[in-house]
């Protein structure tokens, strides 16, 4: 397994380990028509910092243990395909999410819900779209490497 394939597996695994519990924690209160607006910023910053540190440490570790191999044409082809699929997912889900939230904000303004809650939900939905696109990119890379192995 090449360094880049290992990196894709690690990025995928760490992203799922960090952000599945993160979004599950936000989804719980949402099902009771509540949203943890007050505590969301430290939770968000903590999750992003944790993912960043874990990925950096893991990639450095496998770089030390792996042979130094610059990206070749197959790596670039797999990467290009992965970025293309991630872009499709990001553009589609964020457009759907934003349209849905515009409708939601109209409803919320009608029932005089606080603006901060709407903004907080909007930010987390867009963030979810970004994380989903990243997961799709990693999965596409892993599949590309495994199918050509």
């Amino acid at each position: 397994m090449s360094f880049r394939e290992k990196s894709a597996w690690i990025s995928l695994g760490i992203t799922l380990v960090v952000f599945v519990p993160y979004f599950s924690r936000l989804l719980g209160p949402l099902t009771h028509n509540e949203f943890p607006t007050a505590g969301i910023l430290p939770l968000f910053l903590g999750a992003v910092a944790l993912q960043t540190v874990l990925i950096v440490v893991a990639v450095i570790a496998i770089a030390i243990l792996s042979r130094d191999e610059p990206a070749d044409e197959r790596d670039r082809a797999i990467d290009a395909t992965a970025h293309r699929f991630a872009y499709y997912v990001l553009s589609t889900t964020s457009a759907v999410a934003l349209l849905g939230l515009v409708a939601l904000s109209v409803v919320q303004s009608a029932i005089e819900a606080p603006l901060t809650e709407t903004v907080a939900i909007l930010s987390q939905v867009v963030f979810f779209c970004l994380i989903l696109a990243e997961v799709v990119r990693n999965v596409t890379q892993v599949v590309g490497y495994r199918r050509s192995a």
């Binding site: 394939e5 044409e73 197959r74 082809a77 395909t81 590309g144 192995a149």
Partner: protein
């Protein structure tokens, strides 16, 4: 990636070239060993430039290293 229709004789040519290893061939043509494995296993079709570099590494014409199998029409 779809299975490639570009067949090759790289494994035989490596054996004939003093049993050249996949790693050695990869270093000579500037790709990873995994890419050579994928090419030999017909899991990846090399670019034209890479195909020429591989043929040059064996000192053979391109047509002796690679061949294309077109899709057989149904019916």
């Amino acid at each position: 990636m779809e299975p490639s229709r570009v067949r090759n004789h790289i494994r035989r040519l490596r054996f004939e070239a003093d049993e050249m290893t996949q790693q050695r061939l990869a270093e000579r043509v500037g790709v990873t060993r995994q890419t050579i494995i994928a090419i030999e296993g017909v899991k990846y079709a090399p670019s034209l430039e890479l195909a020429f570099r591989i043929a040059h590494a064996f000192g053979r014409p391109l047509g002796e290293v690679f061949e294309y199998e077109p899709e057989v029409a149904a019916g």
